[in-house]
Amino acid sequence: MMSAVPVYWFLMLSAVLFALGVAGFLFRRNIITVFMSIELMLNAVNLSFVTFSYQLKQVNGHLFTFFVMVVAAAEAAVGLAIILTVFKNRSTLNIDEVNSLKN
């Protein structure tokens, strides 16, 4: 019943996806896309959880993933609202133009 695919392939995939998310966060300009990169990272984490859970023959990992998703939904709702407000006030979504707070 064990999958023929070695576990660490899943983990590697998850790691790469996480790195992609980090990359997106670091060099995208549009705030919305930056936020999407966070979703990529969360999915990478979820993938790891599910893999581990499968490996450990438990459902705890699944439940954690589930809650991560619920939290992600809440975070998205709030985050996008914040992004909307920023856009309303500044008429831009360029992340580099949101820098009035600095030394």
Partner: protein
Amino acid sequence: MPTSYTELYFPVLVQALIAMGLAGGLLTASYILGKRVRNRVKDMPYESGIVPTGDARQRFSVKFYLVAMLFILFDIEAIFLYPWVVVYRELKMFAFVEMLVFVILILSGFFYMWKKGALDWSGTDLSRRRR
């Protein structure tokens, strides 16, 4: 009887693949076959043939957003209901109370949004009316 998950869900997969393949194929076909014209007019939003006036931002309404928010709220509730249904027979009263608490909280959120005018499409939201 299928012996593995893969076999169990293989039909689903096939269907999904066919659907995706079809959609992708059609899009690709139109992309390849269709004529591509890129100019201002083409990039303009389509408003029933009327030339758009003003900036898109002026049509900005957050009500869309609030409705989407409500959708998420009930989406999650529905998702929680699914496993609940599975165990309801076992747990009976206990599960009922659990879900009751959950639903009451969710509904108070709904009530709040409703009173805040998220569902009011008459042009003025509650807060304005009250003034």
